[in-house]
Amino acid sequence: MRREGSPFQGVGAVAVKELADNLSSARMFVLEWLIVLTALAALYSAIDSLRQTTAQDPFLLLRLFTVNRAPLPSFVAILGFLIPLMAIGLGFDAINGEHNRRTLSRILAQPIYRDALLMGKFLAGLVTLAMSLAALWLMVIGLGLIFLGVPPGGEEVARSLAFLVIAVFYAGVWLALAMLLSIVFRSAATAALVALGIWLFLTVLWPMLAPAIAQVIAPPDPRYAMLGLESPDTAVWTQMLSRISPNHLFSEAMVAVLSPTTRTLGPVFIEQLRGAVMGSPLPLSQSLIIVWPQTVGLIAGTIVLFVAGYVVFQRQEVRA
């Protein structure tokens, strides 16, 4: 049976209102400054080391994103860590907040479907994150121009734009997760704690657990171990398991997009390198082909989590 009217009626109104709320909220302000300051520190050390070491590099601008100097991680690594925090901060009280403020039934008594509320909130969150990331991206390019004095080439800009797009989808996964939790848990504090728990698990614990589990599934071959090499089976399993974490997908994609010399993200066999000119950069299109599976993985994760939240929300009782 078809329902009457469009499920998108009211999405615009919800999105505009939520966007205004997001941009003016104190929470957003704190998160923004946290990210800007950490990123500035990473960039400063990157610029510093680039000035001293690199004389000839066709991709000087991209180095800004990826170069790290102890003790600070690179700009991209910091983003991989902090984007989820920002997305969780925006999404953890999306629906349960309306419940607790007792605004939900009043809003849903207006001529809109529940779809509009959920979608409007998600879009507003994603736009907020995209705006912040775009601002960061401009900051990097601007600082690069000022301190390195090298204008970015067309391919560099294109690659850094690819970085921006993938980062937005990476943020989308975490935003969808946070919103799902905000629907499942009636208390905003519980939703936030669970989201942060998942975030810590996937970014800190999972990279350590994945190799251990891989060794259980595919025990290392002693012949490889004798040569001091990793067994191919174990390595493949480690990589497969690591990719469960969106954080890993994001960092893989960043490596391929921002370091043009990256030819593959998995283990390499000698025959695959036949005819390759080592150390020479790949064209952008080839790099994009390498990161395509990671990007699709992030988009799919966003959609799956959003749909899960949608289904739960449709079946939920509105009364407090």
Binding site: R102, I107, Q110
Partner: protein, 323 residues
Amino acid sequence: MTGSASDIVIAARDLTKNYGGVNVVDRVNFDIAKGETFGLLGPNGAGKTTTILMMLGLTEISGGTVHVLGNDPARAPLQVKRRVGYLPDSVGFYDHLTAVENLAYTSKLMGLRSAERARRIAAALARVRLSDVADKRVATFSRGMRQRLGLAEILVKQAEIAILDEPTSGLDPQSTIEFLGLVGELRAEGVTVLLSSHLLDQVQRVCNRVALFQSGRIVLMGTVADLARQVLGAGFVVEVEADGSSLDRRLAAIPGVTGVETLAADRFRMTADRDVRPDAARAVVAANGSLRRLSVDEPSLEAIYARYFQSHTGETQGARHAA
């Protein structure tokens, strides 16, 4: 029934809601006519709010049907929600927004154009006497002001039916009177009002008809006078203070009087199924007595409610165990 079939704006037939095997609303039937003020009464948890949510399509209907303005809220919820205003139990607003901004948001969701929006919001805020705090944050509003803001939302919508769920619970007497006055204005404009409450005295003050809910069922429905006759046995209690010879017999002889109680030598209490004050006055005059006081006690919903639950508690508990 008060109206003809074409005047019926809400019609529920065997409406049922089941949560985990328990019918929280159990085969409820009622018709509400256009322009009527209908009260849903009953203790908390009796199924009033669930019934309301089913009428708005905000919760699934487990069985039976309900039609609101000719539409099925489960199939055409937008049609229903466009024409029905809802003030939920302890309504909430976005505290960081002003009164106007809150109304602007919901009126955008209603699909109103910006000029129309501004005009209707200003008019509605004036009606509920919130114009001077229109640009203040709702965080500073008292409970009574929030309820009035919720009513303003219904005015902005120009709803044909206003559904108010426990609108006066937790309000101080002054705000309650003010709020009920506004409800009276709505009713005077021909808006059908559905009011749920457990505060009987207020319901009696504003409602034409009431339905008494008990564990998911409507156990009594009708005008307050009807219910009084059903439950208390008589609709009116008239007190007469007069002297004269054998007044008690004369008063008892008035048609419609079901009993006369002598309170003192010159005070009598009569129970009757209609307002018998004119006849009582005539009887006193006919007996050459002097009439000093003649008063009528409106049947109170409170008395009906208390009496009903007194006489039915045992019975319904038995029924519940059987179910």
